[in-house]
Amino acid sequence: MDLNLSPDEIKFRDELRTWLSAHAPTDWDERREESMESRFEYLKRWQRKLYEGGWAGISWPKEYGGRGASLMEQVIFWQEMALAQAPPLANVLGLGIIGPTIIAFGTEAQKKRHLAKILSAEEIWCQGFSEPDAGSDLANVRCEARLDGDHYVVNGQKVWNSYGWAAHWCELVVRTDPNVPKHKGLTVLLVDMKTPGVEVRPLRQMTGETEFNELFFHDVRIPVTNVVGKVNEGWGVAMGTLMHERGTFGAGLQITYRRNMERLIDLAKTTERNGRPASEDPVIRQKLAQCYAEIEIMRCNQMRAFSRINATGVPGPEGSIQKIFWSELNQRFQQVAQEVMGPYGQLEAGDDHAIDNGMWAYGYLRSRGNTIEAGTSEIQRNIIGHFVLGLPKSY
């Protein structure tokens, strides 16, 4: 056990840190009022800069334009990005999920066609995975693709799609064989979003945002050359894809949480509670300390998990405790923030009295999604019960 960085890791971190301090823009936070489109163009420019600096696709093999970074280097990457408060990446799905999928399962032609443009953010990618009737039951995909000559004809619907409105391409999971059990008849297709019959509709969330979209496919013709991996073996391709989501990307999260925590402590010092600063109220102090401790434990759990993945090569089902921990912790934290702020906590962006321009009201509402997105807390507990503890399958 040695939590110090190795000399190589220090070198990587220092190089990245130097680059970020020279190149990472500092005005992202100020752009909240701009249009979604204008903000996204900004993010594309930022990713382009990362690409030119050699910092896009750091986990990708060097032969495909990546940096071949080790797992710990990836962890460091996301931590440094969070520390520098760098803007997010425009093509985060392409870089983190779809690129690696094409590298692992794609044809040479697909690699040649797509990978470089993912790295440079020239082409943005989204995913078509969830469906109205396939929420926690991921294999229950109904969006169908019928073979017609050298094309598949796609009909169906997807929901909870991110970036669809901005995307050039979509990694789509479709049912190519309706006559076999659920997991078996699925196929992954690469879909040009400009293909006739593809429709993107914004889906409004309880926060008021349209962070997600619905995708509709009406007789969309996709060449068979766009199949990734083998026909009817899309479940394995898609699962390999999802495993990446449990990877290092979350390493920056605890740094973001810690920053929110520090901001909340500052607010508690200036918020009045019973005639003195809330930060001196023993009840509030207990709650703040609890949040701090949980963020620390989230960090330690993550680091232990990354070390385990490093040793074994693959993320295991233990990743479910990370998911449960960060999502439920954020919900508890947002509630504590509300208690510190009292009635001010409910004020949304655009109110002059709102603290941090409504970020806390937004954070509170948005956090409800945390225990639903990327596998509900219930599903995660099923995974722990069955796959980690060996209890019988409960669903």
């Binding site: 229950n140 005639g275 409504g358 639903i372």
Partner: protein, 377 residues
């Protein structure tokens, strides 16, 4: 002893339920909440025709003269329907304060108009410190003129007059009085808008009996708890209905204990909140020694329960619960706004602590426990 509704109480509740379902369905709520004030004048007229605007105003001032239990039954149904606009502010808050603090002439002037549906009103109390504790207020009158700013004032923009709680009394200011300036705030509850209200040498009329304030705020708080309970009930029903129809892994999700037990907890919390609220209303009506404490018990519990019920309801709904089109978030937003309104759980716990720790005579162990009052009357 009968801790259930009387026949006339049950009829009132059923009538209100049907009235709100018919006159203010959720489509109408959504329409109202998109407006600047969430106020629907036509609906208000109908509320007045039902007598609801005068539910607890004494008959001599044109009201129905019903009791606190009847008030909270009405509020519970209003909460169930997520009634938009200034009903709570006008009837449960301003009306109650005027009834408790006003002279007969003032009641005639203000309460009668409320009861008749001719005026809307609200109460301005919270200042920049964000607290509902009336002890810490800073604004005071100078020759019946008010100067300063009140925040989180519900429905101020549609109020005809505003009851202002100040350091040295309780005042009524006409909404059009000089120096009175109303600015919208952007709160989470889309169906009950909040405002900052600024006073600059604004003339205001002092109410004759400001000592009635605490009792009136207790009644308003019980009303708010009832509204919250109604919201929980609706959230529970929406959630159970969804759990019966939504299928995953080939079965309705309600068959999975992880989901079913979330629903069971929602039921437990909703029923418990209802019990506490009904008791508080009865205790206020009967003016029992524990009336104030029972209000704090109800608000403390409802503040936490409404949030928990909402959390669980959204969770059971999964992604659907996170969408704008699903009604559950509208209730969730109101639950959050109501959580801090008239004091959050921490505030009321400390109020309870003062009563059970500081005020209870120590060492007097043989004293008969007070809660036996139920069986001791």
């Amino acid at each position: 002893m009968q801790f259930g509704l009387s026949e006339s109480q049950q009829i009132l509740k059923d009538t209100a339920h049907k009235f709100f379902a018919g006159e203010s369905p959720v489509a109408a709520v959504r329409k109202a909440m998109e407006t600047e004030t969430a106020y629907d004048a036509a609906l208000w007229t109908k509320l007045a025709e039902q007598g609801f605007t005068g539910i607890i105003a004494p008959e001599e001032f044109g009201g129905m003269g019903l009791g606190k239990v009847e008030l909270i039954l009405l509020m519970e149904e209003a909460g169930y329907a997520l009634l938009p606009g200034p009903f709570f502010s006008t009837v449960a808050l301003a009306g109650t304060v005027i009834d408790a603090c006003g002279s007969p002439e003032q009641k005639k002037k203000y309460l009668e108009r409320i009861a008749a549906g001719q005026a809307r009103a609200t109460v301005a109390l919270v200042e920049s410190a964000g607290s509902w504790d009336t002890q810490g207020l800073k604004i005071s009158s100078a020759g019946n003129k008010l100067t300063g700013t009140k925040l989180f004032v519900t429905d101020a923009a549609v109020a005809d007059f505003i009851v202002v709680v100040a350091r040295d009394g309780v005042f009524v200011a006409d909404a059009k009085a000089p120096g009175l300036h109303i600015e919208p705030m952007k709160g989470m509850d889309l169906a009950r808008k909040i405002y900052s209200v600024e006073f600059k040498d604004t003339p205001a009329e002092a109410l004759g009996n400001p000592r009635g304030l605490a009792g009136a705020l207790n009644v308003a708080t019980a009303g708010l708890c009832a509204e919250m309970t109604g919201g929980m009930q609706r959230t529970l029903e929406l959630t159970v209905a969804y759990a019966k129809t939504r299928k995953q892994f080939g079965k309705p999700i309600g068959i999975f204990q992880a989901v079913q037990h979330l629903c069971a907890d929602m039921y437990l919390e909703t029923e418990s909140s209802r019990s506490a609220t009904y008791y508080a209303a009865w205790a206020l009506e009967e003016n029992t020694p524990d009336a104030a404490a029972s209000v704090s018990v109800a608000k403390m519990y409802a503040s936490d329960a409404a949030r928990n019920v909402g959390n669980r309801g959204i969770q059971v709904h999964g992604g659907m619960g996170f969408t704008w089109e699903n009604d559950i978030h509208l209730y969730y937003r109101r639950a959050k706004a109501s959580e801090t309104m008239l004091g959050d759980a921490t505030f009321h716990r400390e109020r309870i602590a003062r009563r059970i720790i500081d005020e209870a005579s120590s060492g007097n162990k043989k004293e008969r426990p007070r809660q036996a009052a139920l069986a001791s009357r």
